[in-house]
Amino acid sequence: MKPFAYHQPDQIPDAAKLLTSIEDSKLVAGGMTLIPTLKQRLANPPALVDLSRLGNLKGITDDGATITIGAMTPHAVVAASKLVQAKIPGLAALASMIGDPAVRSRGTIGGSVANNDPAADYPAGVLGLGAAIVTSTREIAADKFFLGLFETALETGEIITAIRFPVPLRAGYTKFKAPASRYALVGVFVAKFADGVRVAVTGAGPGVFRVPPMEAALSENFDPSAIAAIKIDNDGLTSDIHAEADYRAHLVTVMAKRAVDAALS
């Protein structure tokens, strides 16, 4: 690890000011991606701005038609939340599948969404549910937030404070774990709302994406059989030593079917 300055501000404006005033400074929430990167000397930020002392970023609130989860809420809290389990069980299930117990205790929803790892679980839930990303300056719709490999709509100094999820009629998440890392080789989140179905895929490509043909088919008939014959194009999907693009494409259909099953159960 290379040396860096460490800041632990009490107020969001102070944190934002540090981020804009110190070039290349980094936010640290749970640190589950950043700390290993620093330890391997792959990143050399001059300063870390720790969000752990900021008030009101932790916790889950029921707003009726939506559930709001504070950005610093750890995965384990979401997974164990009676509220989330009751209102959006698919999201609680997603949180319970992230990493291992240590990661779930430290890692946060805001950190995961801001990092936008192409194989992370939360982006599928956020996009699949059509959530809003609440930041220090605005609200961003999930459809406009994820811009591809580790890229988001966040601007320098902009801090995620919460994620607001609309409550669906049904939702389910299934992931096929990469054998070694247990990140999503392919993860599919399916959510059924009164006005239609959303299907979001993580792990398969350079960033989370939706599958309109599956959404249309499931809006007609919310049943695994409705999408069994829908194949997605291999183009643009990831190929690596664990899985070539055609296998990932195949798994999208399989995982989507199983996610619908999970949503129905």
Partner: protein, 795 residues
């Protein structure tokens, strides 16, 4: 007497008191006064000319004490890393043995090859300085696969090793095999890959070196399975340090699996550097560094053919293998795919003619050497797979074909056509036991249940034998060993009757402190608690060969047994004097010396006391003291074996293989501590399952980059991959080891890969699948099913 816990008991492990309470003492726990930090700078290229290293910026960096490169080694005229085995080809031409400099000279030959050593006050400063080195590489094309390496026009690693072939080795009667093939009713053929593995012991490698000018002595603390061998190889052959001026300590070591049974360049460099900088230096490898520097295992490409008569009797077996050695010859490298492979191709069968050719090949990869099982899992995999292929092609049941060819219990000792003679065994008994334990007769019911869920269920057998207890020195010497393979033990009885044992093996997780204490407790009748086992320090322990090849109990335990016999023999002399009886009338039983047929008795403590306070003692004919030493050189290998049965379920939609049941019935000879044996079998089986289903070291051809270079990409087996295992022993006693022991450290790893893959093939056989290479990953299985253009299971 005291609390005797002897052979066959299962006390909890003594060493776990410190391990489980965080009180272990590992190399990285050790701090020396004035200690500095060392960092190795490694080649990022698979193959390159090393034009030069500009140290100036690094040397000017904060806290830097020294930067050493291959040029500094060359100036001092120091040797390269020695290879412990010299094999030869069929004409007796010795293998090509290019130098393995401890820091690269002229060329780098794998990603991870060591280029420089940076020493600074702190690890952070050393790392920062390491990034400031300017290294001038002329990058060359790499070759990483054995098939590619022997092709004409392939990149050449060494000028004087044509076609990258280190040795074209063979074993067996080629002519007899050819004759048998001509008479065969059926010939089964199989091409397979034995995947490359990375050991991943929990504790990464580490070393501390210190030089004391006042005594001109060096001390090296290192994560080693054989500190005496490191002292010998490094002191005598690399650094020219007299043995009495070099102490090597391998304290608690967190797992080895073979990875730590080699003399590594890091050990030599750090020891040499400690004298140059006149301060202790510590180096601790990161996990990532281990991936590109710990010796890898396996990596074979094989063509095998089995000739059978019309009844399915094996007539002859022919195996041609290309074995990857990596960029240089490691300590045991060339021995593993040859002497520890070919002689095991007979398996538990009566195959009368066997021929094996192994081309040992250099590539731009980490040097390959022994990894748990070492050669024997590779042999077992080839044989047990082709037996299944033959059975399937001839329409003979897989158990039946094994029975028809198995060596019957009465036929032991059994001379194979490939050097080794099995002293004892009962493969049929193991098979029968495993069939029952695995409930094979109801497999059809389970298969139907799986089918009803859309899953394919398969069952696989592996009836295998291995050679361990390495090794009879004279025999090994004929095969090319450059060292002995005996073991030593000293039993020091204290004046109060407690015992300290100094033994040349090394305990790094195997439970030696418990098993060996049980042997002493049983033999001397002393309390289990009154026995301590000392190992891993060349200043405290007489010369020993260390731990590998399932040898610790078989060879080390035999030395210990002999040493305790000597203690008893001397005790009898003392007792005879004290009891005023003839020595022949003294008997030793349950910790007491007595005069046969009388109530005259002396306890073991009384005898020990008399030996150290020799007032009433036969000083004219007997030395005082009670301490005995024995060296034991085995007369043969031992041959544990058994039957493993794996049951898997394949999800055809995703290609996922789930191991749903695993049964092992093994013949390991006498069991000292059944709990520890069971643990060894569990661990060994999991490692074999890891090879079969998950683990794969993947290099990029051309660049030589290791693509599976971390735990994010190299899949280790985990607890949730495993079902509860059914493990049992069906032992015959070894006829030539003192206690009838055979060893158990590697059997699990040797037997299991074939059982698992045979089960996977069985699950898919109705779709025309005849072979699956390891690891049977979901991606690979799905692709096999796609290529077979088969209907995917309905839901």
């Amino acid at each position: 007497m005291g609390n005797v816990i002897g052979i066959g008991a299962a006390p909890k492990r003594k060493e776990d008191q410190r391990f489980l309470t965080g009180r272990g003492n590992y190399v990285s726990d050790i701090k020396r006064p004035g200690m500095t930090a060392g960092v190795f700078v490694r080649s990022p290229h698979g193959h390159a000319v090393l034009r030069g290293v500009d140290k100036s910026a690094a040397l000017a960096s904060a806290g830097v004490i020294a930067v050493l490169t291959g040029d500094d080694v060359k100036v001092e005229g120091l040797g390269g890393l020695p290879c412990g085995w010299g094999i030869s080809d069929a004409k007796g031409v010795p293998m090509k043995e290019p130098p393995f400099p401890m820091l690269a000279q002229g060329k780098v030959r794998y990603v991870g090859d060591m280029v420089a050593f940076v020493i600074a006050e702190t690890p952070e400063q050393a790392n920062a300085a390491a990034e400031l080195l300017t290294i001038d590489y002329e990058v060359l094309p790499s070759v990483v696969g054995v098939l590619e390496a022997v092709r004409p026009g392939a990149p050449q690693l060494f000028d004087d090793v044509p076609n990258n072939i280190c040795c074209d080795w063979e074993l067996g009667d080629k002519g007899a095999v050819e004759t048998a093939f001509r008479k065969a009713a059926h010939v089964a053929k199989l091409s397979l890959v034995n995947n490359r593995l990375i050991g991943n012991p929990m504790e990464p490698r580490a070393a501390i070196a210190e030089y004391e000018p006042g005594t001109d002595r060096f001390t090296l603390w290192t994560t080693s399975q054989f500190p005496h061998v490191v002292r010998f190889l490094m002191g005598a052959l690399v650094l020219n340090i007299p043995q009495h001026k070099l102490r090597v300590v391998a304290p608690d070591v967190g797992g080895g699996f073979g990875v730590k049974q080699f003399h590594y360049g890091e050990e030599a460099v750090i020891t040499w550097a400690a004298k140059r900088v006149k301060r202790p230096i510590k180096w601790v490898a990161s996990r990532s560094e281990g991936y590109v520097s710990d010796r890898h295992g396996r990596d074979h490409v094989t063509e095998a053919e089995l000739a059978l008569d019309e009844h399915g009797k094996f007539l002859a077996f022919r195996v041609n293998t290309l074995a990857n050695m990596g960029g240089y010859l490691s300590t045991f490298g060339p021995n593993i795919p040859t002497n520890l492979y070919g002689p095991l191709l007979g398996g538990v069968y009566t195959t009368p003619a066997i021929y094996c050719n192994v081309k040992v090949v250099f590539t731009n990869t980490v040097p390959v050497d022994a990894y748990r099982g070492a050669g024997r899992p590779e042999a077992t995999f080839v044989l047990e797979r082709i037996v299944d292929v033959a059975a399937s092609e001839m329409g003979i049941d897989r158990v039946e074909i094994r029975r028809r060819n198995m060596i019957p219990k009465e036929a032991y000792p059994y001379q194979t056509p490939v050097l080794v003679q099995y002293d004892s065994g009962d493969p049929m008994g193991c098979l029968d036991g495993a069939l029952v334990a695995a409930d094979v007769k109801n497999f059809g019911v389970r298969k139907a249940a799986s089918a009803s869920k859309g899953k394919f269920r398969g069952l696989g057998y592996s009836t295998y034998v291995e050679a361990c207890g390495l090794a009879p020195s004279r025999f090994a010497g004929r095969l090319g060993a450059r060292g002995g393979l005996y073991e030593s033990a000293t039993v020091r009885v204290h004046p109060t009757g407690q015992v300290t044992v100094m033994i040349g093996t090394h305990n790094h997780g195997q439970g030696h402190e418990t098993t060996f204490a049980q042997i002493v407790s049983e033999k001397l009748g002393v309390s289990f608690e009154d026995v301590d086992i000392v190992f891993g320090d060349t200043d405290r322990v007489q010369f020993g060969m260390g731990t590998y090849g399932s040898r610790s109990l078989v060879v080390g335990g035999a030395a210990l047994s002999k040493a305790t016999d000597k203690v008893i023999a001397k005790g009898k002399k003392i007792a005879a004097h004290l009891l005023e009886a003839a020595e022949v009338d003294i008997q030793f039983e349950a910790g007491n010396f007595s005069v046969a047929g009388t109530d005259r008795i002396k306890s073991f403590e009384e005898i020990a006391g008399a030996a150290y306070v020799p007032h009433n003692y036969p000083l004219e004919v007997l030395e005082p003291g009670l301490e005995e030493q024995a060296y034991y050189d085995p007369v043969n290998f031992t041959y544990p074996g058994g039957c493993h049965i794996a049951e898997v379920e394949v999800d055809p939609e995703t290609g996922t293989v789930t191991l749903v049941s695993y049964t092992a019935v093994d013949d390991v000879g006498t069991v000292i501590n059944p709990m520890i044996v069971e643990g060894q079998l569990h661990g060994g089986i999991v490692q074999g399952v890891g090879q079969a289903l998950f683990e794969n070291a993947v290099y990029d051809e051309g660049s030589g980059q290791l693509l599976s270079g971390s735990l994010m990409d190299y899949c280790m087996p985990r607890a949730d991959h495993m079902p509860m295992m059914k493990v049992a022993t069906h032992s015959t006693l070894c006829t030539h080891t003192p206690m009838g022991v055979k060893g158990c450290g590697e059997v699990g790893t040797i037997g299991s890969p074939a059982a698992v893959i045979n089960a996977v093939v069985d699950a898919l056989s109705h779709l025309g699948v005849t072979h699956v290479d390891m690891p049977a990953t979901p991606n690979r299985i799905w692709r096999l099913l796609q290529n077979a253009s088969l209907p995917v299971a309905a839901e």
